[in-house]
């Protein structure tokens, strides 16, 4: 039996390099230097956890199943929209 060929995201991945964004390894490095030691996988998990939190209210409002939270959170179009909103609104930090 052949080995699994890996996972391919349905809609590709959000563009981060054009925005001047960091890879998960670099994020882990910066966070570790700032007193939050973590590996790249933890950086990815925190990122996706944030995305899930943002996708949850949409699922409730549109009456979608909870399984949709994961799909929306992973969708690069959703991620880029979130980035645009943070950029424009300057929310939080």
């Amino acid at each position: 039996m052949s080995m699994p060929k890996g996972f391919k995201a349905e809609n590709g991945y959000a563009t981060v390099s054009e925005r001047g964004g960091y890879g998960y390894r670099e994020i882990a490095e910066i966070m570790s230097e700032n007193g939050f030691p973590m590996k790249h996988s933890a950086a990815r998990n925190y990122f996706l956890q944030g995305m899930r939190k943002l996708a949850s209210p949409l699922v409730e409002v549109y009456g979608l199943s909870l399984a949709e939270v994961e799909r929306i959170a992973l969708d690069p179009r959703f991620q880029e929209s979130v980035a645009d909103i943070i950029d424009e609104e300057g929310v939080g930090i």
Partner: protein, 253 residues
């Protein structure tokens, strides 16, 4: 009114028998101008009946009759009585061709060259044959290949061949006022108000949800998308070791 008078006058002309047609055709061959006129006048009814079939194609009826008559004259000049056909059988083709050429050239705001019209005709014919044979429509690439032109050219021809409608035209068929196309057709940049409302509400929801993120999550999301206000902010967005390595590798090339 003028047309009615014309129709009445044309209706007064007697139709020709087969023998008369042959006699007149022989006389025309010998250069008899009166015979030619009689042949034309006796067949004006045929020209009108063919022109009538093209009335809904966007050209004035008077023009269609004129073009139809020109086709009739051409048929009279080329008719060969020796082949044994009735004149009307032969003339129908010339008249129809003249009217079709006029309709294709005049209808619509954009005049298409005859070569482009010929390509459209070929493409249409190919589509019909393909559909009847394979029970499905051919792809645009197949159509372009069948007529031997690039796909972009075919698309441009179809685009220019589409029927143009004035924005000032009334939407109702009887053109007795009412709204015009300009009032209801949206611009290219216009968006659906419903979509806009959805966008606003989604945005508001996301802004509220963003406030619920922990500082660590928000920090990581910002780092992930490089969302710093100041591009030179190397405190919150430092140059990492791996970035340094990449920059050094790039500069050493």
């Amino acid at each position: 009114m003028i047309l009615d008078t014309y129709f009445d006058k044309v209706g007064e002309r007697p139709l020709l028998s087969r023998e008369e047609e042959v006699e007149l055709a022989k006389a025309i061959e010998n250069g008899d101008e009166r015979a030619r006129n009689r042949m034309i006048e006796a067949n004006l009814r045929l020209a009108i009946s063919i022109a009538k079939k093209f009335r809904d194609k966007g050209c004035s009826f008077e023009d269609l009759i004129q073009e139809s008559n020109l086709g009739l004259i051409r048929a009279v000049d080329r008719f060969d009585w020796r082949k044994g056909f009735k004149f009307s059988t032969y003339a129908v083709w010339w008249i129809r061709q003249a009217v079709q050429a006029h309709v294709a050239g005049q209808s619509g705001a954009i005049k298409m060259p005859s070569s482009a019209r010929a390509i459209m005709y070929k493409a249409q014919k190919f589509k019909e044959e393909y559909t009847s044979e394979f029970k499905c429509a051919p792809s645009a690439e197949e159509v372009a290949a069948s007529v031997g032109i690039p796909l972009n050219t075919l698309r441009a021809i179809y685009k220019s061949g589409s029927h143009a409608v004035s924005l000032d035209r009334s939407i109702s068929r009887d053109s007795s006022g009412g709204r015009t196309f300009a009032e209801v057709v949206g611009g290219v940049t216009d968006t659906d108000p419903g979509d806009e409302l959805d966008k606003v509400s989604i945005r508001a929801m996301l802004v509220i949800a963003l406030k619920k993120l922990t500082p660590r999550e928000e920090n990581i999301i910002r780092l992930r998308f490089g969302l710093q206000e100041n591009k030179a902010d190397h405190v919150n967005f430092p140059i990492t070791k791996s970035m340094k390595k990449k920059i050094e590798a790039r500069s050493s090339k």
